[in-house]
Amino acid sequence: MAQREGLGPGGKTGEVIAQALIEQFPEYIKIKKATHNRVYAMVDKTAWLKVATYMKDKFEFDHVTAVSGVDWLEEKKMWVVSHITSYSNQVTAEIIVELPRDKPEIDSVSNLWGGANWHERETYDMFGIIFLGHPRMERILTPEGTDYFPYRKDFVGGRRV
């Protein structure tokens, strides 16, 4: 088997990464759980871009697996859940950012990771969450002229066309 350059256990396990994140951003980040290959965290909205840049630069998190939204209608908030993977450390981090439901805006990470581009567009299309700094914040899956956000909980699904 050939050499795996830049891949394979880089030595920084999930616990190490979680510890470093808490030390770097003590008041903005809350770690729910950390195992050797998983990190579950909640990050404050104002620090999201800084945390993402730190994860990319220091811990080689170079692949965005998914960026999705969750609508909590009763609690009047929305979540943006990002799953980011590091190939060299083989760790996947689940980061949840809470947003107020009446003004769902968050910084975009598409300039850091191009892979988040279409995921953020889709989250806007389905939930109405606006990603500030995104190069092209437009609808992608629903047809032109759609004026509702389908995956929100107050949108009742059902035959419409």
Partner: protein
């Protein structure tokens, strides 16, 4: 054509003569029953030609398209029945709709249907094309293709086996045979 004007035919201008004699052949054939005879002879010939060279449009939407592709493979072999898939709608006879139709696709599908030349038929393959299928409570799918296109044959299944698709085309052949009109399109 009025035969009482016949003695005056020699005095007519070219325009008047043309207008006067235009329907002569038609009326003769109608009166003598020739039109019906020609229709009776040519209808089976046209239907034989049309049904054995049913060119579907190369248009795959979703899962049923994979069974359509398997039907044109060597095991089920739709081509022995004359079904050669063509890419341009102008060159096809059958619009085979295999998959769910969304609001974004609906105007394009209608346009494809209108671009096909007469006579043409529509086959709805799979549950999604027949009535919306598993996506019955979706906000973006059309619940049945026959809401905007007239459908001739419905092939149920999710997805229908390639043999079922070929059976559906056999039923389309029967339908073509029964409904074919002769040369003069009168029946």
């Amino acid at each position: 054509m009025d035969m009482r004007l016949a003695p005056h035919a020699i005095a007519m201008s070219a325009q008047e003569f043309l207008a006067w004699s235009r329907d002569l052949m038609e009326q003769l054939m109608q009166a003598s029953g020739g039109k019906k005879a020609v229709d009776k002879i040519t209808a089976p010939i046209w239907s034989w030609a049309l049904r054995n060279a049913n060119y579907p449009l190369h248009f795959g939407i979703a899962c049923c398209a994979l069974e359509m592709a398997a039907a044109s493979g060597s095991r089920f072999d739709a081509e022995r029945l004359g079904m050669i898939f063509r890419s341009s709608p102008r060159q096809t006879d059958v619009l085979l709709i295999n998959g769910w139709v969304t609001a974004k696709l609906r105007p394009d599908l209608r346009r494809l249907y209108e671009q096909m030349a007469e006579p043409h038929w529509v086959v709805a393959m799979g549950e999604c094309a027949i009535s919306g299928g598993p996506w019955y409570d979706s906000y973006n799918t059309v619940q049945g293709v026959d809401t905007f296109i007239p459908v001739d044959v419905y092939i149920p299944g999710c997805p229908p086996r390639p043999e079922a698709m070929i059976d559906g085309f056999m039923k389309l052949h029967k339908k073509i045979n029964k409904e074919m009109k002769g040369t003069f399109l009168e029946d």
